[in-house]
Symmetry: C2
Subunit: 390 residues, 2 copies
């Protein structure tokens, strides 16, 4: 029978994103011309020059023990450099004991959820949501509750307040958002924080706010991301350098625990422990050393903004309904016919790969991941126009 029944079931509902990525890989070798692949969040931009230099320095270093185990939370000097960055950003007293280095944001989210959830605990998120959340929460016995958003993909706060009950341990948000590109403003974060404060009091136990922020440095029209840490005490941020330093294959990220979180010391110990027992053990040593001095550095945002502006302008001109993204590198237009899966197949026939909104719990939309070279965007525009006439 091969794998377990449970995994067999889960695989049957697996990721549309990977499915499109893999179909795209096949199409790319079918000899029938170019493929315009907007399926995966796999930036075609190269890491900053400073990263290459840093890597060369590390490779040339004769420091003994560079590749050995370190504490499961990661090197203390690396965690301290990140804590300093977060402290400067928020004004809160982050220390090395507020930061756990992780195997990307995916690793960090799993370590955090395993540390927080008892079987049957609820995790609340908003639609559309990153498809992996369903698996991550299920991995640790939790139950993912998906709440509605409005036409601009912003949370319905009344529904949110009503949905939090005594079984709700975690609220999981993702801003800048995948798949919509929406950025939650500080005012909205403060409102969410206010509700969580009230509900934690009702529950006599904190509802933890877990914020998945791999795109936190990819915001177009503001200097820096609004901060959950300023909005709520018992907050935990998970991020990675996959997007800001264009390193998604390297799996390096971190968990940041608010120094004001209830039981913050215990959370640090627990997440260090779960990072170990889930088999991550520690984030890769070389990658920790690589990113430590590059905190706050980001690839050229103009490279993304140019594509957002062109795509948005043209899609609107063709007649698509699109919410203009403020961050990340995703756009989430309405499927013109209303049937996202049918529409995505039509686009695929024109050799353009996107992901149906169904894959994000939001049928009727489709996701364009525009972290691609300019010629891919330009090359695909005729297909986006022509498909409307199919």
């Amino acid at each position: 029978m091969g794998c377990s029944r449970k995994i067999e079931d889960l695989m049957a509902h697996s990721s549309w994103i990977r499915k499109m990525f893999e179909e795209g890989a096949n199409m790319k070798t079918d000899g029938r011309g170019p493929v315009y692949d907007f399926s995966l969040g796999n930036p075609e931009i190269e890491p900053p020059e400073a990263l290459k230099q840093r890597l060369a320095e590390l490779a040339a270093s004769d420091t003994p023990g560079m590749h050995r185990y370190m504490p499961n939370a990661g090197y203390e000097f690396v965690r301290r450099s990140i804590a300093d960055y977060l402290k400067e950003e928020t004004g809160l007293s982050f220390t090395a004991e507020s930061v756990i280095m992780s195997v990307g944001a995916g690793g960090g989210l799993n370590a955090a959820l395993k540390a927080l959830l008892d079987p049957g605990d609820k995790v609340v998120c908003f639609r559309p949501y990153f498809v992996e959340y369903e698996f991550y929460v299920d991995n640790h016995g939790g139950k993912l509750v998906k709440l509605p958003t409005d036409d601009s993909f912003l949370p319905d706060l009344d529904a949110f307040e009503q949905a939090i009950d005594e079984k709700t341990r975690v609220v999981l948000t993702n801003s800048p958002n995948n798949p919509t590109g929406v950025v939650y403003e500080q005012e909205l974060l403060d409102e969410i924080g206010g509700i969580l404060k009230k509900k934690s009091k009702d529950n006599a136990s904190p509802v933890y706010w877990l914020s998945d922020e791999p795109y936190r440095n990819l915001i177009y029209d503001a200097d820096r991301a609004p901060s959950i840490f300023k909005a709520y005490d018992s907050s935990i941020m998970v991020t990675s350098h996959s997007k800001d330093l264009a390193l998604p294959g390297e799996r390096i990220g971190y968990i940041g625990i608010s120094p004001n979180a209830e039981d913050s010391g215990k959370l640090f110990d627990a997440m260090t422990f779960t990072n170990r027992i889930l088999g991550f053990v520690n984030a890769p040593a070389l990658l920790q050393r690589l990113v430590a001095p590059l905190q706050g550095m980001t690839v050229d945002l103009g490279w993304y903004k140019r594509k957002r502006d062109l795509l948005y302008k043209e899609l609107i001109r063709y007649g698509y309904e699109v919410n203009k993204p403020d961050g990340a590198f995703y756009m989430f237009p309405k499927a013109p016919s209303g049937d996202d899966i049918e529409f995505v197949k039509k686009l695929q026939q024109r050799r353009v790969l996107v992901v149906p909104g169904t894959g994000f719990g939001a049928p009727g939309y489709f996701r364009i991941s525009y972290c691609v070279n300019d010629d891919v965007v330009k090359g695909a525009l005729p297909a986006f126009r022509q498909v409307l006439e199919d």
Copy 2:
């Protein structure tokens, strides 16, 4: 309350290894002289020169996309180079679809167990066993069954045969063994394989053999490790380059699925999937590229053998009861008083750190991890002698 009740309970029974490692770190800064630390499997030997050269080449490379996502199983060219190595070693038809790159052996074991286990399924192992197995099996809803071994730490095959029932999905072995240094000979592997074949027939469903082999290239008196792949068809090997290339902090390993395993294609798909949804996503890109051309390479075994020989000779001379290890870099002597925890504390007072056998499900013994520099071994010998008079 901070973390979940479940994690709170697990942490209370957490690892003796890490406990000793952390107490050691404190002792090292107490200003009261040297500490002889045999607590962790964290080799003090440096990686081979060829690895440093390869890393420098990669750092200097201008290949675009080196740090991007690749298929969740890892780069095809890396998996192919490992498949070629396994094919040469076993004569079996390994292909790139037999290999999944993992975040160390810990990551590989978790991906494999999650793919194989339904809630309540049993995993059988032998005492003493690597302490993390308990967590890894529990992570995925399984139940770890620990079977006895004889005075030489070899499996009691009668007990083994009786213990396998219709709920047994996986047999988990570890040779060369942590904590004993025992190496299972091919004849023993064949006997285990024979029992598994019979039991799979009885169950009308394969019992999978999962072999944890991070020390497979650290064998002193034979050219190569005996092979489970030759002993049983439905076998899966998990290993890493933490020990053979001295890279434990970098988290790079792989899962090898026998091409003869029942449903081997489905196992590959399932473990690729679980590697993704557990948040590993993929093994670090740079590390995959680093190890691909270094298959079969191992640090200087003489560096370890020298220490094994000296330690073994001296401990026997002092009157310890010790099984001479054939591989890995662990020795597992009897605690002279019979009380391993008391004995370990006595050694600690003499500034020597070892781990009590209790931490491996084998009270009455203690583990010496001798992957340390010669002066640590030499420096500790007087304490190992004197403690017998305490």
